[in-house]
Structure formats: structure tokens, C-alpha cells
Subunit: 180 residues, 2 copies
DNA sequence: TGCTCCATGTAATTAGTTACATGATTTA
DNA sequence: TAAATCATGTAACTAATTACATGGAGCA
């Protein structure tokens, strides 16, 4: 079983969802296409780590809702305690930084401004998500209650916001160096 | 030609280097193994974007030093002006966050402390690199001179330092929530 | 009329990892 | 004496991307 399989299990553990839901939600932390996810879900089901229920919809295609089993929870606990691979990054923007000195200043500014724009857009989406989460938050669970399935997603979003802000500030610093 | 090929070209543009050097230097921004890099370098050479020189060494294996050609620089300028793919991330640590609520608090603390340790070690390496770069910096190039081949690498390291610090602060905040 | 969203699946291709292969020198 | 560093390459395998395939609803 590969890391993506554990990741899918992990997302399902928080709330039952369809393959389509997973493709949307996992992309922030693990780039994966639906063509990879659907076969893995079938495997997880064959292994008895998840079970699914056909949900018939009118006006929309039918879907399968996957739920974690007790065997799946046990598998997750083992994975959690095991070693964690360092994050894999492939960043074209970073690679472009090495040829800065070959291109004119305007092209560099365009690149950084475009990056800053992306980061701003992402920050907006993240702050929107934060607000949505506050509404979902039940009053019986305090902010620091780890046993709530929303605790993980919440601190992950906070992490993304911090990192995106730091990166945006860096963009502004660089643009200033280039006389903006 | 794929993104990694452009990345290799980009690194070579700053200073001529061997395949081995590239495997060491590119890993911070683009995960790649030597088994991927050596064949791509041969391709770049066949296409006339780089040229190489055999360097015989005593006490060490011989090596090939690759240098960018004018055609290579032209190729880089085109790549630079074109669209930039968003960074690809595959982060096992982030995936583990979704199953926090299933495991005991001690296991969570272990995971976050381990992450914090990794970040601290990386920050040390980055700050060491910053010092090394200051020594390489020639006095005729001011800090904000983009036409110096070291400008790109320098601002990239500054970016990494900012992001790693933000992530480390996040770890401390989470550990505090968990009563550290 | 064409596009996006919803929803699932498979096939073909490309990219990436792990393993195999060699070998001298230095460090723990 | 075992492991790490330097240095390059290929082969086998696994993972990931792109393309193929279907189809109704809602929007511009």
C-alpha cells in the first residue's frame, strides 16, 4: 500500500466521502488525479479497510460514498506511528530563479507579480475556508480539542495561511529590490 | 523537453557543473534522482543546448563539466517568458493531519516534534549556506543586482528561510495547543 | 452552442524510483 | 572494517499524467 492510499484512508476517516470529493480535497496536500484515486479506492475496499454505499441522485450522476472500517482505523494508527517521508516538491518557479540574470528586469517582475497574484488568490480561498469551518465547529468542542475530526483540517489551513503569507511577503521584498 | 530539463539548463546557466553537482543542487526545489538526470544531460548535449568537457581527476573519479551554449540561453529565455506550472507537492505529514483524532495525544506530539526537529536542522543548513554565499559575493555587485548569477540562488535561500521559520512557528503553536 | 460541474471508470504514455554495476579515497 | 563521498551510467519497476469514454444539468 502506497502513501496515497493511506492519505485517502486518512481523509475518509474524518468524514465519509466519494472518490470525486477526495480528488478535490486531497489536491492541496498531495497532487493526484482521479485516474489514480478510483482504482486505489477499489483496492482499499477489497482489503476491507473501507466500505461503500451506492447513493442514487436525481439531476446528478450516482455516486459511491466510502466509509472507513475498524480495520481501516487500525491500519491508519500503524501508519501514523511509522516514519514520515519528507515532502516531495517540484517547483518550476524556483527553477526559473537560476536564470534570472539572463532575462530582462521586466520579465522577472512579471514572473514575481504573477506569483504574488496566485498567492493572494490562494489566501482568499483559504480564508473563506476558515470562515466555513467556524460555522461547522460545534460549541461542545473547544478550539484546541484534538479529538474533533475538524481539528486536523483546521490547523492545516492555518499552516497554509501562514506559509502563503510568508511567501507573499517575500514576493513584495523582491519586487522592492527590483525598484517597485 | 520536460520541466526538469529546463531546470538543469537553468542551474548550468549560473555556473558550469557536473551531473553529480546537479543532483545535489536541484533537490531543494525539484526532487530528482541521478538516474533521471544523467540521460537528460546527454539529451541536452545532443540538442546543442549544453556542451561538456571531460575533467580527469586524481584521487576522485573523472567527471564531465557541462556548460550552457548560446542556443541553450535562448531556450531558457523562451521558457522563462512562458507559463509557470504551480508547484507540485506530496506531503505525507499533511495527510497524517486528517487522522489526528484517531491517535493518542502523545503520538501527535511525537510527530510534530519530529517535524520541528527537521525544520530546525534545515534552517541551520540554510543559514550556513547564506554565510557561504556572502563570502562568494563580489564587492562590485550590490545586494540587489539581478545581473549577478548569485542573485537568484540568494533570494531563493531567503525564501526557504522565511518559509521554514513560519512552519517552525506553526509547530510551536500546535504543541502549545496540545499543552506543551 | 459550447463550457463547466458532477461522477466514475480504463488505457496509453511519460515520469520517477529503486536496484544493479563499478571503484578509489576518506572518515568513523 | 564498515560506511560515506565522489562520479557516471543502465535496467526494471512503480507511480503519475494525459487521453479516451459516457452523460445529464445548468449557465453564458
Amino acid at each position: 500500500m502506497n502513501t496515497l492510499s493511506y492519505g485517502l484512508l486518512s481523509l475518509i476517516s474524518g468524514s465519509p466521502c466519494s472518490g470525486y470529493d477526495l480528488t478535490q480535497r486531497i489536491q492541496f496536500f498531495w497532487n493526484a488525479n482521479h485516474s489514480q484515486i478510483y482504482p486505489l479506492l477499489s483496492q482499499l475496499e477489497e482489503m476491507g479497510l473501507v466500505s461503500f454505499e451506492h447513493v442514487l441522485q436525481k439531476d446528478k450522476p450516482d455516486k459511491k460514498i466510502y466509509t472507513i472500517t475498524e480495520a481501516g482505523r487500525e491500519e491508519l494508527r500503524n501508519w501514523f506511528a511509522g516514519p514520515t517521508d519528507p515532502p516531495v516538491v517540484r517547483d518550476e518557479f524556483a527553477l526559473k530563479m537560476f536564470s534570472l540574470w539572463l532575462v530582462d528586469q521586466e520579465a522577472v517582475k512579471r514572473l514575481i507579480r504573477e506569483k504574488a497574484g496566485m498567492l493572494e488568490a490562494k489566501l482568499c480561498r483559504l480564508e473563506k475556508r476558515t470562515k466555513e469551518m467556524r460555522l461547522l465547529q460545534k460549541p461542545e468542542h473547544p478550539d484546541f480539542d484534538m479529538s474533533c475530526p475538524l481539528f486536523g483540517p483546521r490547523i492545516l489551513i492555518e499552516k497554509s495561511i501562514s506559509l502563503n503569507r510568508a511567501e507573499l511577503e517575500w514576493c513584495h521584498r523582491v519586487l522592492q529590490m527590483l525598484g517597485e
